[in-house]
Symmetry: C3
């Protein structure tokens, strides 16, 4: 039997001088409220405030970090209870959450050295009061303990939200979403705590499933004639305004690349006609997406939404898994991503605008020092989003600071994004970021590259102030 | 005069807490037998068990790490005794091994900070009992000491094999090789200790020297009609079976890129006709190689050979050196390598097969966190080979773990490959890997990211168990 | 109020064992003379020896590291006194240097964690004797103190040159430069201390502003008929000889990529006719530049100038800034850069020449371990320039050594380049390099990867000997 190790000095460098400095810095930020400006929690949780379901349905089945690792070691997704597409073949889905949980517990060693392990251990220990580590032996103890607590009122979403000291959280919705949960949240006085963000990929990307239908639906919702380019732009502007009414301060764009394009009006109209007719090449799809990023920047200048660009994921790389299980099943793989040439059309048009703010993310760490830090260290509109997705990890965060700070400084970055649908782990994720940032600052202080008093100010900014300012919260 | 420093704590981080943890972990793995599933030792050494020749011929002339560094500083390859191609011009080759040795000794400072230096120092100290460092002053002492020992029976290949505590070693042969040494080894009862691996580049790559002749020879050896595509496939399957009889558990593929292609049968037949006729473009050669990787995967599904893909080397970059000295003269240079799009055809076809195993290597470290760890952390067929070639070094190994573990974990990796023809240094190379892995694990423990007991288990797995399992030994 | 922290152990790793070793190594190199073989100081400073102007004009307005960071945070370049192009619109330029200085001081926190901060702090403390950190509160104290000192004779350029213990410095001039300052320096007996370097981009790059005019002017200066290719080559050779008379030992080539090309004579002549006529595609411009690098290598073989290749910057990325403020305004952004295929034409032709020396630089750190170290660890003509531009920083220098040493060793590198026009900070920059190298060596010693006595020799070489040898000084 072994015990979960949530040591108070976890993640700090081992060197005693650095560790001591890190601990002092961390003590000043550990209890700051959580600002979560970018994430994927389900607004219905906070709107309805129903109890979360069983441990497997809460912690395993929806977490692609968890099931991708298990799948990589030969465990079928069906055995983990991951739902299949209609009419997909293969084995039966496991319906017994306890069995799913046991399978996870037996394979918990696969997560050694991963952030998933740290996030889960924190949840088990801090939220559910478990002390022994998860294993085959403790699987049932875990299942029963968690299952019982989830039925208690103080484990409902709003209670956890408050216990977690979350000041504000943004969810992510697409333009076709009616935002009913956000409306209810507003009515309940939670409108300042849970806001939406505008994610229009499904109406900007001609290669998105159902694109043409989505455009038509966009027209119905807004009353704009989306068979014309002008009507389409009007509809987007209309939905942006609607999202702003539901708290949105940002848009988010998850494109395959960072390509931007600044088409002349008639070119854009012609291309819009082609992509909505379904008559386009992959190059034309790419140009249309790129052009629409420039249009989004223009609209941001008007309405003030902060623009987030999240490029570089090759979605649904595993065709077999996609056919049987659909999107978001751990098979999105990062690709090499260019920003320098790709962003030039957007930056030539709007790069020096004082009132525009564009936050760049990457899945390609080789661009931190080569492209992103030099770009953000020059263009007034650009800021760097934190280490993202696979790089939202201790080593990933360390590389982000080591490779961006010397050129872009701290003040062209925007604090932390948890970017997660795993609501229970949100404090653990922010805690990892705070610890890693304090560890990085502590090293700078120990190496006499920064004064301790300055590091303390920066630590506050990274943990709280920068996110509020960058996302205009 | 200075002494060789093989300190018991070498390669461990300096921080006393981490170092102490590393030492404890290392103590549990230092004496484990060596599993060497991928390498380039000469099977005739073990089959014939003749004494190794003189120090220069053993340690300098065949080691491209050594002579490339000396060459880079202006020392002609001829002066190092490197054999030339027939009819190549230029200076005479140095025939006196003592003179070659002295030249190396005088320039030993060039290797400061390199793994070659560590491997050589270990060999000098641990194998030959030398205590002073190599230099111009000690060159003759070294030469005489090593030369004398090499004549002793306990320095013959089999004696060193046993002294080195090697449990199993794989050599690498091409399909045209008759495997006579492996046959003799089998007869001598060494068949479980020295096995072959199937490396068919010379009959899969249309751009390989003598490709068409090789295909013809493949037909002669197997009795298959390799003028037809089906006969060619049959011949490959036949040789795979023959290699399996000589112990092979893996195939190995050293292609310029990771491109895979899944051609329709008639396309493959047409392309086969073109490439064997010598009538093909570089693009067609690339597609043929890529298609044959998918065929190899199909055969692996049938016969169980583990498939290794080693892409990304621009072979024989230095045309002058290639013309005068031929292949493998230190002029192979890594190139930027894509895996995400390149592997999709293979993975679409076989990526979810429970019985296939594909081990990926890279010379492009930028793909560790961006491509390889995400791919291996998802696809059941994929595992990550260790840091390879230029990256088979302390810093390279550290980067490999830092950049892959958080996404792929430890259990999608396969232990260490020494990948060497430098037989004498094999224990030193495995020792470097064990020390670096223990140092990495120790840091995770010291930073409370892993329990010490879990780290001890992982250390065992990395040093021994994973290689045995991944290579089906 | 806080004090500048120029701790004697700054930049050394915090671990006490490593730090102690680093300090010992550093003590042996800290006072070595400065060799500055590549930089952008203004030769008129040393020739005329006039006092430097006010603090803002000396330390802010010409330093693109400084104003790019301030600009990235929304401060207009006009407010920093950066001069505009004739007829450019926008706000008035701030003419009061004290106001510019105050703006900088108020925003000094933006530079936390950047090398600019370390360089500036050193200048303030060591050169001007200031003790409190720069801030809004101390802005006027700083301005007045610095302004007063700059008027003293012992703060004139030659006095600082001697106080800085600079043995030799190279400036950079283009072939059209008459080198009048260098002539005067020679007459004054300073010809061995301040030398020029030959930077012919403006007559080799068809896309350079005024290229055709520059070629014509080159003809006038040399008396060669630069309307013909042969006359053009003759003119270049003539100017190289003239630069050598003014001390030049190197040429420098700042191309967008590392492309080289080895055209047949008639191809080169035809292309020369096209590019000088202004009738060429971007591909043709690229090939012409690439071909001229091979021609430069040929000329270097004749005249012995060491060739520096500085590729990979996307110049003037910000079109708005370029139009209003011109070149070199912090908007040059690094791009992904290939060396392996790009350099092959040059290396196929001249890669094994004993008397040629080519120093490679990069802005793309991903090539250190993948391309540059393997190339330099093999080709006799190649050496690696130090971490450059955005990577000329503590973390950048650390990555350079960690990622190149194991494959290329120390002796295929060339010491430090400050590469700066910020004369006052030159000792601070060399000091950072010496400290970082000593810290790196100290870690190798502490990890028993290198003997302390060997590290001491390497430290000397990195700080002084290698630069002298590599640049043939």
């Amino acid at each position: 039997m072994s015990l979960i190790d949530l040591h108070e000095d976890r993640l700090f460098p081992s060197d005693s001088r650095v560790r001591s400095l890190a601990r002092h810095l961390y003590d000043t930020v550990r209890d700051l409220p959580i600002i979560s400006p970018h994430g994927h929690t389900d607004p219905s949780w906070f709107a309805e405030n129903e109890p979360f379901p069983n441990p497997a349905a809460l912690l395993i089945t929806p977490d692609h970090y968890v099931f991708r690792m298990l799948y990589s070691q030969g465990i079928p997704l069906e055995a983990l209870g991951v739902p299949k597409q209609p009419r997909a073949g293969g084995p039966e889905i496991e319906r017994n959450p306890r069995k799913v949980w046991r399978l996870f517990a037996e394979n918990y060693h696969l997560f050694h050295g991963t952030p998933s392990r740290m996030w889960h251990d924190w949840v088990y220990s801090e939220v559910f009061g478990l002390t022994e580590t998860l294993s085959a032996d403790t699987a049932d103890l875990y299942f029963d303990t968690i299952d019982a607590k989830l039925k208690q009122d103080d484990f409902r979403p709003r209670a956890l939200f408050d216990r977690y000291n979350i000041e504000i959280i943004a969810t992510t919705e697409d333009p076709l979403d009616p935002l009913v949960h956000h409306s209810k949240l507003k009515d309940d006085g939670w409108g300042k705590k849970v806001i939406t963000a505008f994610r229009p990929d499904n109406v900007l990307d001609p290669e998105y499933e159902g694109f043409a239908d989505n455009i038509a639906r966009l027209g119905e919702i807004t009353g704009c004639d989306t068979t014309t380019y002008q009507g389409y732009l009007d509809a987007l502007m209309d939905r942006r305004a609607y999202f702003k009414q539901h708290g949105a301060t940002s848009s988010d764009h998850g494109h395959p690349t960072a390509t931007t394009a600044d088409l002349a009006r008639f070119e854009a109209e012609t291309l819009f006609a082609k992509v909505t007719a379904g008559d386009f090449s992959t190059d034309e799809a790419e140009i249309f997406r790129g052009h629409m990023l420039v249009e989004m920047a223009r609209m941001s200048l008007e309405d003030g939404l902060v623009m987030q660009i999240h490029p570089g994921s090759f979605r649904n790389h595993n065709q077999g898994v996609f056919e049987r299980f659909g999107r978001d099943k751990g098979a999105d793989i990062p690709t090499r991503t260019d920003y320098v040439a790709a962003l030039q059309p957007l930056l030539s048009r709007y790069g020096n605008e004082p009132n525009l703010s564009v936050i760049l993310f990457t899945l390609d760490e080789s661009v931190y020092s080569r492209e992103l830090a030099p770009l953000a260290g020059h263009y007034p509109v650009l800021k760097l989003g934190p280490a993202w997705w696979f790089h939202d990890s201790p080593e990933g965060m360390r590389r982000f600071r080591e490779q961006t700070t010397e050129t872009a400084g701290f003040y062209n970055t925007v604090g932390f994004n948890d970017d997660t649908r795993a609501f229970l782990s949100i404090p653990a994720r922010h805690d990892v970021a705070r610890r890693m940032d304090c560890g990085f600052l502590a090293r700078l202080v120990a190496e006499h590259r920064m004064l301790e008093e300055d590091a303390a100010q920066v630590a506050q900014d990274l943990a709280y102030n920068l996110a509020k300012a960058a996302y205009r919260l």
